[in-house]
């Protein structure tokens, strides 16, 4: 890993690992402290119970035979292996009997329980210590030995009950605290060990889990950088495991695909703008230039200017149509859709075009019966339908003895089919028919007709916007244009 420490800490995985480690350590420490104090308290209580029992026995001995019996009993008990501490002293603190050689000063002055553990030394302790340490030196672990050594230096710690006998003599019954001390040492070691294990565990987790995640993220950001660098065809790596990272990558890839599509559309639009707006703009410019050079009558200038205005208007129309198609294809906003009666839309458009058709000698009729509702935008549907009807009238004019355009509305399953049929020449070539809805595509035969080449593209974009479709089918004869609307969602 070529990362420096601050750089490592900048990664989420490392930060998370460190945080978990800290939390676990805190919990462990708190738990251990709780358990230690609880056990220490229990051990102390146990010790005190033992001492109380001893004192009770000794008290009975004293009652039975006074001091001599007491002394005898104490001496007997003192000699037993692993005995408690026993001591009888006179009023001045001079030790008379028992198994304690020396005491921390001041212990004998207390009355009742000693307030804190005190240190003491038994008779013949030196020898005993050495004997006890022999096996330890050979086999046991280091800390145990040092513990014993430290204890040897300090003497032992004990708690005791100090009593005044009726004759002003002092009796002490105590118990060594070695056992609880050892217990505490064990707990301390366990804690250290646990902390160490936890640290190691944290590192391992970070190394295997965190670093793996880090690597995946790095590969994703590396891929994004490449894509940002201009390679829009690039995609993020997907391992196929199907985990969160794969899902993230898949979603980002879908987003990239969408962006690429939009980008492609944008590129196509700008290409088309460049191609199809340049021509009329050049014409416009040339006309102005030709009018300026040479002598002309005022009426010529007027005519040239009027031509310029007409041409500009056509340009504006084309431009608006391009913008609208782009917006529709980009998804537009669906807020502006509501219940639209297609029958009414058909009647409106047919009524709008009826005089034009009559003037062109084309019979335009609508086969519409009942109101048929779809979710949509009346304005857009009207525009799409009028473009199609416009085309139908244009291309059937003079094509047959009785040119006719027929608009029909019918339900097909759950959906609605709106069709415009003409009996003109149609578009015999399948490829041409498919291309006819592309932007700016004007088939050879239509070049002589006025128009921007955007009418059918716009109609198609409108149908896409309505989640429907626009199909150009061969008529018999002529062209059969079908606008298919999906079923209306009633909400």
């Amino acid at each position: 890993m070529a990362l420096s420490v601050p750089a490592i800490m900048k990664t989420t995985a490392a930060r998370l690992s460190a945080l978990y480690l800290l939390l676990f350590a805190l919990c462990a420490v708190a738990l251990v402290f709780y358990m230690t104090s609880l056990s220490a308290r229990m051990l102390t209580a146990q010790t005190q119970d033992t001492i109380n029992d001893e004192v009770l026995g000794l008290a009975r001995a004293y009652q039975r035979g006074g001091l001599p019996v007491l002394v005898r009993v104490v001496e007997a008990r003192s000699r037993q292996p692993g005995a408690n501490l026993y001591l009888i002293a006179d009023a001045n603190g001079q030790i008379l009997t028992g198994n304690v050689q020396s005491l921390e000063p001041g212990v004998l002055e207390t009355e009742g329980w000693t307030s804190s553990p005190f240190s003491y030394q038994r008779f013949g302790e030196g020898e005993l210590e050495r004997l006890r340490n022999l096996p330890a030196e050979q086999g046991s672990t280091q800390p145990e030995q040092s513990d014993a050594q430290a204890q040897g230096e300090k003497g032992h710690n004990a708690i005791a009950l100090v009593l005044r006998l009726p004759n002003q003599m002092i009796m002490l019954v105590g118990r060594d605290l070695g056992e609880p001390e050892r217990f505490r040492a064990v707990i301390r070691r366990a804690l250290m060990l646990a902390l160490g294990m936890m640290g190691l565990g944290g590192l391992l987790i970070w190394f295997f889990v965190g670093r793996a995640a880090l690597k995946r993220i790095d590969s994703v950001s590396e891929a994004s950088r490449r894509i940002m660098g201009g390679d829009l065809s690039g995609r993020l790596p997907v391992t196929g495991v199907g985990d969160e990272f794969d899902r993230l990558s898949e979603n980002l890839n879908a987003m990239l695909a969408r962006i690429a599509t939009l980008n492609e559309g944008l590129k196509q639009v700008s290409d088309n703008i460049a191609h199809d707006l340049k021509t009329p703009l050049t014409r416009l410019r040339n006309r102005a230039e030709a009018t300026l050079s040479g002598k002309h009558k005022t009426s010529d200038y007027r005519q040239a200017l009027e031509g310029t205005i007409a041409e500009s208007d056509q340009l504006i129309k084309t431009f608006n149509a391009i913008l609208m198609i782009s917006r529709l294809e980009a998804g537009y906003s669906s807020e502006n859709t509501n219940r639209v009666d297609l029958a009414e839309a058909v009647r409106d458009v047919v009524e709008l075009y009826e005089p034009v058709a009559e003037e062109a000698g084309v019979s335009l009729e609508a086969d519409v019966r009942e109101a048929t509702f779809v979710n949509g935008n009346r304005e857009l549907i009207g525009q799409a339908l009028s473009n199609i009807v416009d085309n139908a009238i244009k291309y059937s004019t003079g094509a047959s003895a009785q040119p006719a355009v027929r608009v029909a509305l019918e339900r097909v399953g759950a959906g609605v089919r709106l069709s415009v049929a003409d009996n003109g020449h149609g578009i015999p070539d399948d490829g041409d028919r498919a291309r006819a809805t592309e932007r700016f595509v004007r088939l050879e035969k239509s070049r002589s007709q006025p128009g921007s080449g955007l009418g059918l593209s716009l109609a198609k974009a409108v149908m896409t916007f309505h989640n429907g479709r626009l199909d150009l089918l061969p008529g018999n004869p002529g062209l059969f244009v079908v606008m298919s609307f999906p079923a209306r969602e009633d909400h």
């Binding site: 205005i309 431009f319 409106d348 709008l352």
Partner: protein
């Protein structure tokens, strides 16, 4: 497009002079509008941003306001909403580069009275502004429109010229009604399509021309005087006498 009674442009008798406020941040466009309005016989004041425009509109007594949508300091819709909330009812035409149906609806909902998308033809703007003129809108309430010897009764849906009954289709009636309401004013093809057919798009073919010429046939045939005039490069005008 050349109809029987063509009146050359430039000689259009426009309405009485109006006081117009133009709030537009594009300096060149604003200057052009001011010049063009002045040439058409109106007075135009220009504000270069929303705040200034709001202050001018609030203080001055304008007949019509032309407000751009996207402007520095305060956008057009906010200016309109502000004026409306202060009780200012001066008609507003919104100019915008945004031109979809939604934008139009938003604009009109904010208190605008008409909406025109850039780029636009000045003749279109002028015609719309003159129609918006609040002093001309009194006709809304009249039940009978009269232009020369042409008479239209909005209640009985009857039309007569020189006491002779003329039968019109429903759409032709609405077309004539709109033209008569704005008699003496230029009415563009887009305005007709919007107000008579409720469509806001440009049909590929000039369908409106054919409808108008049909109507013209009905109200002019057999009468010696033309009444429905074509204004070249702009639209139509119904004018008696």
């Amino acid at each position: 497009m050349q109809m029987s009674a063509t009146q050359p442009s430039g000689e259009i008798a426009y309405n009485s002079p109006m006081k117009i406020l133009v709030i537009e941040d594009d300096r060149e466009a604003a200057d052009y509008l001011q010049k063009a309005f002045t040439e058409a016989g109106h007075t135009a004041h220009v504000a270069g941003d929303g705040e200034t425009g709001f202050a001018l509109a609030d203080a001055g007594d304008y007949d019509v306001m032309v407000i751009d949508r996207m402007m520095p300091r305060r956008d057009g819709l906010s200016v309109i909403a502000g004026l409306r909330s202060r009780g200012n009812t001066t008609p507003v035409l919104i100019l915008s580069a945004l031109g979809e149906v939604d934008d139009r609806v938003t604009g009109l909902r904010a208190g605008g009275d008409d909406y025109l998308t850039k780029p636009y033809a000045f003749s279109e703007l002028l015609a719309r502004v003159e129609v918006l003129n609040r002093r001309a809108s009194a006709k809304e309430a009249e039940t009978v429109y009269r232009v020369g010897d042409l008479e239209l009764d909005r209640l009985s849906h009857s039309v007569r010229r020189a006491a002779r009954e003329i039968t019109l289709q429903p759409r032709e009636f609405r077309l004539l009604e709109y033209l008569m309401r704005h008699a003496g004013q230029v009415v563009t093809r887009t305005m007709l399509l919007e107000n008579v057919w409720d469509y806001h798009f440009d049909p590929q073919t000039n369908v409106i021309d054919v409808h108008v010429s049909r109507l013209r046939g009905k109200i002019e045939k057999g009468f010696d005087k033309p009444i429905l005039h074509t204004v070249r490069g702009a639209g139509y005008m119904l004018k008696g006498g």
